[in-house]
């Protein structure tokens, strides 16, 4: 009896530990650390034996976690099954690409021909492409039919414009955007940032004219490009979707994976404003009357971020790149990177300091 109690309390403490690790700031920090640890040791991590062990352990952990009611409830919800599949497929495709890059990089060092060497760049439409498409079509149809039969689409009560479900979640592919809306005003998170994502992706071929990596897998030759892109994709898109799917519960509060979704759980999230932190808390003075003077520290901070950011980045690690791509390309690159980094910075500030706005000119709806 004692041993059972002890075991269950050990299990509880493990669950509690994981719940704490899934608090947003820890989750983000752990994700970013894991991301860079993977990139630094990509040759080791992508070895089939290592990758296989890691994925086997992850699967075991997942299956064991399903014994917990709250965890099982979240991951088996019909809406969330695609996200579980997405986590597997994203990991697999990343592994696949990095595995080939690791092999190629090793071959390059030894002076051996690459995997892709000699491969003909022509494939026949008939039969190669048409057969593949036919097989994919048949398999996808079969999968969708089976899926639709096994996992019923959740039917809820008739829509009522005066009642929003709690939590109200966007379709899974928009959960990253919905998460962004928690930290920025709608005009920024709903218009400017999505626009910048699209424009930034369109700008990549004009900024990055380096032909290396065309037609063959490599990481060693394209460290910066691949790292930047994957940071935006994996950390700022996939991780945000995981946040929105598994960790956001009633009232849009964060819940650990083993935590009960209690709509009445208290959450102390009283907002603080940057102008309060500066004028009242630091200088011990009342807020200035005029909004421009009131928001001056935030404006200066944000201006310094965008003005000095490129200079500091150039000085630290972009010396060669800035020389290679020229002033205009470098400026565009820096603006895109700084906007991208604004996201995690504001997220961490919100989680740790409950910071509402850095610049909060509510009179003009100009809030950042």
């Amino acid at each position: 009896m004692d041993s059972i109690l002890a075991a269950s309390s050990t299990l509880d403490s493990v669950k509690h530990f994981i719940n704490v690790a899934c608090e947003p700031h820890w989750f983000l920090i752990i994700s970013v650390l894991a991301f860079f640890i993977f990139l630094i040791g990509y040759r080791t991590w992508t070895k089939p034996i290592v990758a296989g062990t890691v994925s086997a352990l992850a699967t075991l952990f997942f299956l064991a976690s399903c014994a917990d009611t709250n965890f099982a409830k979240i991951v088996t919800k019909a809406d969330n099954v695609p996200i579980v599949i997405m986590m597997v497929t994203v990991s697999f495709l990343l592994w696949l690409a990095f595995r080939q890059a690791a092999i190629n990089d090793e071959r390059m060092e030894k002076g051996e021909p690459l995997i892709e060497a000699g491969a003909d760049d022509k494939v026949l439409v008939w039969p190669d492409l048409v057969y593949s498409e036919l097989i994919a079509l048949v398999l996808c149809t079969a999968l969708l039919i089976v899926w639709a039969i096994i996992l019923r689409a959740p039917l809820e009560q008739p829509a009522d414009p005066n009642v929003a479900p709690n939590p109200a979640k966007a379709p899974w592919y928009f959960l990253g955007l919905q998460e962004m809306l928690v930290y920025f005003d709608p005009w920024l998170a709903g218009v400017v940032f999505p626009g910048l994502i699209i424009v930034g992706l369109l700008a990549i071929p004009y900024i990055d004219k380096n032909p290396r990596g065309n037609g063959y897998y490599t990481f060693k030759e394209r460290k910066f490009a691949i790292t930047t892109f994957l940071f935006g994709f994996v950390i700022l898109w996939v991780v945000l979707i995981i946040f929105g799917t598994f960790l956001r519960g009633p009232n849009w509060n964060f819940f650990g994976p083993y935590e009960f979704w209690d709509p009445h759980r208290p959450a102390a999230l009283l907002n603080t404003e940057f102008h309060d932190l500066f004028w009242v808390n630091t200088l011990g003075r009342p807020l200035p009357g005029h909004y421009l003077i009131r928001e001056l520290p935030g404006i200066v901070l944000l201006g310094a971020y965008f003005m000095l950011g490129p200079v500091i980045m150039k000085w630290l690690f972009f010396r060669k790149i800035s020389r290679d791509i020229g002033f205009i390309r470098y400026s565009v690159l820096c603006v895109l990177i700084l906007f991208m980094l604004l996201m995690p910075i504001k997220m961490v500030l919100r989680w740790t300091l409950n910071l509402h706005y850095i610049v909060g000119i509510t009179e003009w709806f100009l809030n950042v």
Binding site: P161, P165, N166, W252
Partner: protein, 358 residues
Amino acid sequence: MAKKQLITKVWIEEGCIVCDACETAAPEVFEVMDDTCVIRPDALNAEFTKPRSEGIVDAAEECPVDVIKFDSDTVEVADEAPTEPAAAPATETQTAPSPAKKAPAAEPKKAAPQKAPASVGKTKAPSAGEPDPSIQALLEAATSRGGNAGIMRNSTEVPTSAQGWRATDVDNLPPDARQAKVVEAAQKAKKQSALHRRDFVSNSAVAIGWTAFGVGTGISIGPAFGRFMMPNVLEEPDPRIRVGKITRYMEMAPGDVNEDYKPQGIWMIRDEDRIAALNIICTHLGCIPNWQPNDRKFKCPCHGSGYYSDGINFEGPTPRPLERFKITIKDGIVIVDKSKKYQYELGQWDQPGSYILV
């Protein structure tokens, strides 16, 4: 040792009459399209055309308008060779007659620009006994996929047949008659479209006339059309909603929220000294928050915005407080007018009409 001509480059000049003679003579080299004949891409390679020299020469001879031109190299072949190396089994369209007779016949046709590409220089003719490697590669390619093409998926190197093709400089390709025709047609069209002065004047007159007509029509019937797009009767519920007797709200304690009229989009609230009507729509992105009596706050389920019971925002991303509706009393009945809103950040909550003093 006999001398023999092998064709390194073949092209078609303008004037093809689409007679199909060349495609009949050498189908792997020529393709007759709708309006002209073109060289198949494979045949832009010297290693490909060499073994098909005979067929090409035949085609050039049979061409009634003599538009097929070619470059050739003269190579020496062993006398005793019973059949020349080019007559490999893969090229089934080869005609039997000896090349020695054909080659001189082709001589006068070489009047066209002669620029033998350096890369294809003189290849040493293989002796009779050993098979020509280029032909071997072709054979292998032709048979590896049911004879469809020389594509070897898992090969570790570029097939021999493709090496010459890859090395060929794009600028050295023979001028294609089809391309020339397109260019010619484009130039013609450009010439025709050049505006003459007289055309310009008459065109402007027509344009001005039509513009004036369009503007006149727009001014005369535009408003009528605009009116037509509006509904004649607008089915809108009365924005004034009766929310019951004032006495029931007088009984509320400060900070209480009455949710009875949430279906109509109204929260009745009791502030310190007044009663007011809150709009239930979240000012962040328009969701409907929930009143949480235990925490005494409105909490939005979409992005986590939170408001105190009086509607002031204090947590989450929302930029401003909830809006208040106009509220009046008539015969002891409270009437909320949803068509008039009061916003805190504009200082409107102190305006009369936004509250009822208790």
